[in-house]
């Protein structure tokens, strides 16, 4: 059966404007989902740790924290699950061109992710609702599959994104894929640097995000043990992981220098291939030149290759239509790195005070910065994600398929974008409101509480 002439006419080609609509919609839904998903990855481990400590020491404060966090986790998991489902729809609704050709190549990690997510949903259901039905020992054990499955989900799904940066495990014959090797596709070279960077980011977002709630309360003068511990446990997770993350980030950048040099060139605004390339801090890329930037001599060559005369490939190596938009990528990267170092300093401050006094700093400046860290960490995550996604443009599958080839030819994508944007706006407001209410309510997530609520 063929479409009506009108449909065929409309379907002839997606206008560039519709490509923009599809990209904004994907960016919006994915950008929203990853922040929530980070809490799904990081929060269970922090919560289960608190519950375990509570069980072992008999300290009610730990147990109360665990129950409070579990309740927030329930809300975040629910919105994370639905926002993730939408993404699986959007893969086909917005990018049928990519899924038609490559769906089978990247299907494996998504299938594995499906199982991990399933296990997470099952055990989270048990963890949240069976506090009264299981012994404390068994209950804390039901949290472990939630933690493992959350990390596994992140690993699997990010390997699929890594494949888009380093497509492997197939050959093309007349536009159809042949010789598919699903495992080779999944364990592509970008898989390790990207997954490790993302999983650590998830724990940092969850850690700093949770700590910020208590930092704000401490700032308002609620200095009891409940708030101190509520701050200290997640903040420690974030602070300890920050230096690790900076190291992993360096590894990821070196990987780019080796495997996706055009992306690194865009990140740094390097136009001509050269040796002794400086590191650009700030600046604006105009007509093939990085202007107004603060330059650290030989910095980039040193960072990428451990030697001042390391050779850096420039944007000029790629045809003009194959270059990513430099300023967006450059600035996103700069902001991510700046936040990363800010978080590092905050963690060092806390660590030094702890070393001297066996307690964390209580002054207003530190607590205000710790509150801000709860927003800064997800911001760094978003900018890191923009760096990697926009840095891959104009390719959806690097070097193989352009984003414009993948987009649906269906007209009216702006209508869908507006509808999705409105729904996300409402959901954002409602989620924040509900979480704020939960943070104030003095109760634990028992089944009977919910019925009487």
């Amino acid at each position: 059966m063929t479409g009506s002439p009108a449909t065929e006419l409309l379907a002839e080609a997606a206008s560039p404007a519709d490509l923009v609509a599809a990209r904004i919609q994907m960016a919006l839904s994915l950008g929203w989902h990853i922040v929530i998903a980070c809490f799904g990855v990081g929060m269970p481990a922090i919560t289960v740790f608190a519950e375990w400590r509570g069980n072992r020491t008999g300290d009610e404060v730990y147990r109360l924290l665990a129950q409070r966090w579990a309740k927030a986790m329930g809300v975040l998991f629910a919105v994370g699950a639905v926002s993730g489902t939408i993404l699986s729809f959007e893969m086909g609704v917005l990018w049928p061109g990519m899924m038609d050709t490559y769906g089978q190549v990247i299907g494996l990690p998504f299938t594995l992710e499906g199982f991990a997510f399933f296990i997470e949903a099952i055990f989270l259901g048990i963890y949240l609702y069976a506090w009264d039905r299981l012994s404390p020992r068994v209950h804390v054990l039901t949290g472990i599959p939630v933690c493992v499955a959350g990390v596994a989900s992140a690993f699997f799904v990010v390997t699929a994104n890594a494949w888009m940066n380093q497509p492997r495990g197939f050959d093309l014959e007349n536009g159809r894929v042949v010789q598919v090797e699903p495992w080779a596709a999944m364990f592509n070279p970008a898989a390790w640097p990207q997954t490790v960077h993302m999983i650590i980011a998830a724990f940092m977002v969850a850690g700093f995000g949770m700590a910020a709630v208590y930092a704000a309360a401490l700032l308002r003068g609620r200095r009891d043990r409940y708030h101190r511990l509520g701050f200290l446990i997640p903040f420690t997770v974030g602070a300890v992981l920050t230096p690790v993350q900076i190291g992993v980030g360096d590894w990821a950048a070196k990987f780019l220098a080796e495997n996706q040099p055009i992306k690194l060139a865009a990140i740094e605004g390097v136009h001509e291939t050269a040796r002794n390339v400086p590191l650009h801090v700030g600046g604006i890329y105009q007509q093939g030149e990085m202007r107004y930037a603060f330059e650290i001599p030989n910095g980039l060559s040193l960072l990428a290759h451990w030697t001042p005369n390391g050779r850096i490939l420039g944007l000029a190596e790629a045809a003009a239509e194959n270059r990513p938009p430099v300023n967006i990528v450059h600035w996103s990267f700069q902001i991510m790195v700046a936040i990363g170092f800010g978080l590092l300093l905050l963690g060092i401050w806390c660590g030094l005070v702890w070393w001297r006094r066996r307690s964390f700093p209580r002054n207003r400046v530190f607590l205000a910065l710790a509150t801000a860290a709860g927003f800064a960490a997800p911001l760094a995550l978003e900018f890191g994600w923009i760096t990697t996604e926009v840095g891959r443009q104009p390719w959806i599958v690097w070097g193989r398929m352009r984003t414009a080839e993948a987009v649906t030819p269906v007209p009216g994508l702006y209508g869908g974008l507006i509808a999705v944007a409105v729904v996300y706006l409402v959901m954002t407001v409602a989620t924040i409101y509900v979480l704020r209410r939960l943070a104030r309510a003095p109760l634990a997530p028992q089944e009977h509480d919910e019925e009487h609520a």
Binding site: M1, G74, T85, L108, F110, G114
Partner: protein, 342 residues
């Protein structure tokens, strides 16, 4: 059985699980919508909340599982359906967001006004989401999603008699399954009056669902002749099993045998789904795309099937434990009977 056939059978098994379990959750939302005013409907809403609260997240994952197996095993089909069905699938996506988020928000809210708003969003999207999913199924079954990206009509593919039938049938099936499932839940909780209420609803929706399905035959005869021919041809034994299951679930409801009635209702719905699959076999997209042609490379199918098998070994015992944990009356509490009198 070829690898491709095995793959689509696994997908269909996942779809069956989604329709039975996720469908019952959607049906819970349907009854929530019709439960009446805040005070009058409180008892019913409590039971629905209690029944689906711990399990709906897991029940929902079946859908993701089916989508992923579709794009892995039959990428062309996934691309063709999702591009042609852009509009109803976007509406389904919005419905899923509204439903899942509102359900969680309602549970976490304490103020009556907020609970009402979230409850309404949850209930309304519980009805609209299966409706639009049903229109997609109707569009596929009647051959309105040919192979190729956006090759079908943007509007006509889901606004047509078979899609309308699919949408209404999906909502009716969800309501029917939920009512039958809730009868047993209510009785286990010791809320006998509530069990009677849902028994009446179950009997009513069973009749309506049966009537829609039977009336639908005429619609298919006129609008989807190939599907019709398959249903009265090689699909007929399964259609008869479906009818028998439906009648049996009615008879068991009349005798208040709620647990076996659940099984009979599930058989009725599952047989209908598999009847459709058999009727359309070996085509995956009408008019001429076969399962074998649309399937991914054998290496992909093999890996997916092995992974699914290994995953099932982890998944099924976990699911079993979850369902049995929440089907037991709570040992440490006074049971649901008292809290329902709220």
């Amino acid at each position: 059985m070829s690898l491709a056939e095995l793959m689509i059978a696994v997908m269909w098994a996942g779809l069956t699980a989604y329709v039975l379990l996720g469908g019952a959750d959607f049906g819970g939302g349907f009854w929530d919508l019709l439960a009446g005013g805040t005070r009058k409907g409180a008892e019913q809403r409590d039971l629905i909340n209690h029944s689906i609260g711990p399990v709906w997240e897991a029940n929902h994952v079946w859908l993701i599982f089916v989508i992923v197996l579709c794009w892995t095993g039959f990428p062309e089909v996934f691309a063709a359906v999702s591009s042609t069905m852009y509009i109803p699938l976007t509406l389904v996506a919005l419905g899923i967001i509204a439903r899942g988020a509102a359900f969680a928000f309602r549970k976490a809210s304490t103020e009556l006004g907020h609970r009402r708003v979230y409850g309404f969003a949850f209930a309304l999207s519980s009805v609209l989401t299966p409706f639009f999913l049903g229109t997609v199924a109707g569009g596929i079954a009647s051959g309105r999603t040919p192979a190729g990206i956006a090759a079908g009509e943007l509007v006509g593919s889901w606004v047509n008699p078979t899609s309308a039938l699919g949408g209404v049938l999906a909502v009716a099936i969800a309501a029917y399954l939920a009512a039958v499932f809730l009868c047993a839940d209510a009785r286990r909780e010791g809320a006998d009056a509530l069990a009677e209420t849902f028994r009446r609803k179950a009997l009513g929706t069973a009749a309506v669902t049966g009537a829609v399905a039977l009336g639908g035959i005429a619609v298919l005869h006129a609008d989807a002749p190939r599907l019709y021919a398959g249903l009265v041809g090689k699909g007929l034994p399964l259609i008869l099993v479906s009818v028998l299951g439906g009648v049996a679930s009615l008879a068991l409801l009349v005798r208040r045998r709620y647990l076996p009635s659940r099984v009979a209702a599930a058989v009725a719905v599952a047989a209908l789904l598999w009847g459709w699959a058999v009727a359309q076999y070996p085509l995956v997209l009408l008019p001429d795309t076969t399962i074998e042609e649309a399937a991914a490379q054998p290496a992909v199918l093999r890996v997916s099937l092995v992974v699914t098998l290994v995953g099932a070994v982890l998944l099924l015992p976990s699911l079993w434990w979850m369902f049995s944990l929440f089907q037991r009356v709570q040992p440490h509490s006074t049971g649901r009977g008292t809290s329902l009198s709220e």
